[in-house]
């Protein structure tokens, strides 16, 4: 790849100080996102997906803190910026779309006022130019009759339309990077499909990079270019979305794909991963997945695997595409 990444995350560590000790919510996560690329981040509750997103936009609040690693925007560190400087980047360069469109809009202000305020904060447009721009944005995200709807209050919009308004808000300063945290989880399938199409289209047309956080593998498969599977605050597997979905390597990723009921396959039983996610206070030594793993080796209990290109035993027999990396001792070529 000749392009420079929009966002680079290097060995990110996020910790929360609690009465019961320090919780490591994110433990050594690294990835890059290129312009126009959608990186999907999947994992179950507590895997650290949302915390990663919050860390990038600088919204980790005490008692949480970034305890290690760096976050680079266009090659410049942003994780150690003073709050005031970060505030200026947030919104203009990096925007966020949250899960619940009702709570991310102020119910007491008209949709237009919220859009115009955001536009004027980040650009020096006049009030009337900002209003025209707000109408353009609403039209772009597919809201019918935007010149009329701009004066509506959030409660006058349906769930899907509200999420479109939130997307318009995120786009208002033409950011280079958007963190979308479960943008379709609160929506019905037919509306979800419309929102996914919209996000894809905007990425393509504007070259915006997106980090799409969701627990829904189907949404990732439809939208993302690459996917990172997270487990207990670590990246278990990362790679091109087709490759990871069709030929998962990590035992956790395999289990996760098998556990999802699909429209096509008629399985008598779903794959079941024994046990449950470890508590953050009590993450196992070595590989975090080792107590639930069917193919656990002695080494997994002691030594933590790092994401690397898979070698050796590729049981699926599939050709692994470049950039598909997995954090598992099964694939480091050494142990059988």
């Amino acid at each position: 790849m000749t392009q420079a990444p929009v966002i680079s995350v290097r060995n990110l560590v996020v910790e929360f100080a609690t009465r019961r000790g320090i919780l490591r919510a994110i433990d050594g996560v690294s990835f890059d996102i290129m312009p126009g690329e959608v990186l999907g981040v999947v994992g179950e509750s507590g895997a650290g997906k949302s915390v990663t997103g919050s860390a990038i936009i600088g919204l980790i609040e005490p008692p949480g803190r970034i305890a290690g690693g760096e976050i680079l925007l266009h090659g410049k560190r942003i994780d150690n910026l003073p709050a005031e400087e970060m505030r200026r980047i947030r919104g203009r360069k990096i925007a966020m779309i949250f899960q619940d469109p009702l709570t991310s809009l102020n119910p007491l202000y008209r949709v237009g006022e919220q859009l115009i305020e955001t536009i004027q904060t980040h650009t020096d447009l006049s009030a009337s130019a900002a209003r025209a721009r707000a109408i353009d944005l609403l039209a772009e995200v597919g809201i019918p009759a935007p010149e009329r709807r701009i004066d509506g209050y959030p409660h006058e919009f349906s769930g899907g339309m509200r999420q479109r308004v939130v997307i318009a808000l995120a786009l208002s300063a033409e950011p280079d990077f958007i963190v979308a945290d479960e943008p379709t989880t609160a929506l019905d399938v037919s509306v979800q499909a419309q929102i996914i199409q919209l996000i894809k289209k905007l990425c393509r047309e504007r070259g915006t990079a997106v980090m799409l956080v969701t627990h829904d593998m189907g949404v990732i498969a439809e939208t993302a270019d690459r996917v990172a599977v997270m487990y207990a605050g670590r990246v278990a597997e990362i790679g091109p979305v087709r490759d990871v979905v069709k030929h998962p390597l990590h035992p956790y990723a395999k289990g996760l794909m098998g556990a999802i009921p699909t429209l096509e396959a008629e399985a008598e039983r779903l794959v079941q991963i024994p046990g449950s996610m470890p508590r953050l206070t009590n993450i196992p030594k070595g590989c975090a997945f080792n107590p639930r793993c069917e193919r656990v080796m002695d080494r997994c209990r002691i030594e933590r695997p790092e994401p690397s290109d898979p070698k050796g035993d590729l049981s699926s027999g599939a050709a692994i595409m470049p950039g598909h990396r997995v954090a598992c001792h099964l694939y480091d070529g050494g142990a059988k």
Partner: protein, 335 residues
Amino acid sequence: MSENSKAFVEVRDLKRVFDVSRPWLNRVLEGAPKAWLKAVDGLSFDIRKGETFALVGESGSGKSTVARMAVGLLPVSGGEVTIDGVSMTKVQGSAERQALRKRIQMIFQDPYASLNPRWRVERIIAEPIHAFGLLKGEAVTARIGELLTLVGLHPDDGKKFPHEFSGGQRQRIAIARALASSAEFIVCDEPTSALDVSVQAQILNLMRDLQKEFGLTYLFISHNLAVVRHMADRIGVMYLGRLVEVSTSKQLFSAPRHPYTRMLLDAVPDLAMSGRARVMVAGEIPNPISPPSGCTFHPRCPLANARCKAEAPAMREIPEINGGVACHAVEEGRS
């Protein structure tokens, strides 16, 4: 499932309206009329013994209202629910009603809200046993242990409180409670939508195992078509309080007939990435207080014509799919 076995649960022309009028004073001052919301509007289906019948549809289609009426948590506005020949809506006498209730249980969506946080698990599970006076003394404790083991928990877990369990384990407790009265008909309202996928797989597998073991009959409510496909023998697709298509699971997914069913299937994100063509449907479910005329789906339907705008289609039975379709376009062969 043999074709001619008798229906265990019969739902006939079920209706429910909610009064959504403004307060009396506002109506008087503003001259506003009373407003009614038809949440469920003439629903009929059968479930045979040991079968899983699923209701799917988007939010606001009335799935959960049907579930609540089927267990008697919500009085019906019209129509009838009959379970094993006994009409639940017209049942006379408390003894008969108790006997019927014992056979019906419900599993709710949110296992954090459906278990009393102040009660120990053993008390939660014992509640149906005591309510119906099934067992006494030592036998109750033994039964609780047995039920906990059945759902994959340890008998000692009965001493704990719900907050000590994860979401999946709580849903197991809810299932144990549903089984405590040896219920035959279990209504599951989105039982796994609050759970992570790996936990969802565990719960769905457990529900299927229990169904096989005890011959349970499920009414399964979900908005997730993939989950429904995995669980159900037959499926009813709801739109704005009406059934638009009832079909066997196999037929529904291989050859959907109603345009709304096709749209729903098309909208599901495709994990297999087979690259199938999508028909994007614009619009959202309309306001149920003033539903569209005729077929309520016509504003979003690619096949709608003048007849669809004027006349509501009736459910026409199609024996080969063990159900039927309510659509003028399908009937006229325009689809």
